[in-house]
Amino acid sequence: MNHKILITLIVALASLMVSCHKEENDIFSTAYITLRTPDSASITNIQAQAVVVNVNTRQATTSSQFRDSRLEVELLRGAYSVTIEGVVTVSDGMGNERIRQFRAQSDYVDLSHKTANHAELNILYLD
């Protein structure tokens, strides 16, 4: 009986020790950065370049893979600063379209979640 208790205790201690640390190996995640216009105009076309810089490692990622007004980019999970510059075609809903230069920037965007990394940036017209 004593032997059984001792063996159980040893196995329990050993299991406890080897199972303590949980690794976090899901280090990448997809980030969705959406541009928002300051007025009610909608973005119909976009041609821009986004520079996404990891605040902690200073690694920069550039992308121009926009779909409508949304940028989709695979990143190391973390905190980022984002700068997007380019031109957009905006429509005012009455059928009038205008091509405008813009810039959107944020010094801090939290893209650290495993899923649903959504961020929205307000664009600033430069013309």
Partner: protein
Amino acid sequence: MKKSYAFITAFCLLSLTNEAEASVTDTAQVEHLSLWNSLRVSESLNPALRSAMFVSSLSQLTLGMDGRKQSEAFVEEDGTGFLHALVGVDTYLRLSDKTAVWGKASYTAGTNHDVRWRSTADYALLRPYILADTLGGDTKGECYRFAGGYGTRLGRFCLGGEMEFRAEQEYRECDPRMRGIVTDLTLRTGCAYTIGIYDAGLAVEANIYRQTNSVAFYNEDGVIPEYQLTGLGSDYTRFSGDKRSLYHDGGGTAIRLNLVPHSCRGIYADLMLCEHHYERKLADFNAMPITMLTKERAEMSLGWRQKEGGANSAVFSGVKSARHVGDENVGGEAYGGSYPTIATLSMYHYRLTDAHLGALYGRASWNVMAVGGYRTESEEYAYPLRRMEHTDAYAEVDAQCFLMQRRAVRLMLDAQARHSTSLRSTVTMPYANMKPSFTDMIRHKERYLKADFTTLAIHLRADYDMPRTTYGLYADAGMSYTACSVGSHQTGARLAIGLCF
């Protein structure tokens, strides 16, 4: 003429050895210093079993010097060499047939030469999560160690406990003025139960570790960045540069199982599992933890040994496996002088597997041990991918001889040869995107990763028993030479004198 000298020398050595073999009775020195004890290292770490390890008592007061010099640093973080002075006392006292106490106290002080890429003490323990700069230089250090233990037998049970404490500081007296102040406490307790001719032992261990680490610059024009290294030439850029005050907090637990014969012959086996964590914290930002290193290790050995009829023999095998995982905490937006942790990513991985086979044969006055093994190590940083892997094979022969055991002056001669050869090594590095200084550091590691090493060492100890007292004097000298296939070499020397009682 040369032939006759060789014959006379061989005859003298043979005469000495034969005389020793014929008349030797195990002195305390033979029992405590024998190569045979290298088979019992695991046993000595269970305080219950340690209380039964030696029949005789031996205490030694030592005053010595230890030095090493490399023509080029094998490991830049360890520097090109050191010169340390040591004073210490080490004792094992048998109080009765059933009870023993042991203890150790020592003070070491000295200089480490040309240390680079390290501004943190205890590199071997904390790597790769250290503070580092490109300049480096000589460092000074001092270390106090205290240890004490007690073990006793109660019927079929043995019980024991011990404590080890280390206080150490390493510092530099010119810019960059690194300082690492270490406190390290280990408590160990163990028990053993006699089953037939075997003692089955169980020991548990707990460790607490802290290092306060900082770098200062007195010359304002000479300030250089201090990097928070994260492994294989990467750094935590956000907190590198001027964040030069850190804490390394850590500790862990270990469990050890032993099966040892308490008679003259039998199989022996041990298993050890341990896990330790070391957290690096920024002192200036509310002790914000930026990295955590988790170290897991398993060791297992199995062997058979016999010590009877004046002969020692053993065959043994062992496997070691280690896994280190480095977690980086992602700092969020600064708020009120501190950074919240918004995510934790396991970016660094290290794996080690070492398997060896060995044999020992000897008589009362000499022992020869041969070990051959295979070792594979891999290190990886997840993104941008960096990887270093290497596989080595090694062989080691160690011969020990006790001479003139019945005379007033007794000698112990120990000679060792070791060779390790690199079987395979691969390195994957984003060299194009690395800073030039980091590239140089990694290329240095890469050169030594692929290198072969050959070491020859000799160690001579002379003991003199003072007449009509229980005291003795001893002198100890050792030299070693290591040749590395990249063209560099290392020489080592140590010298000690002391009092035995």
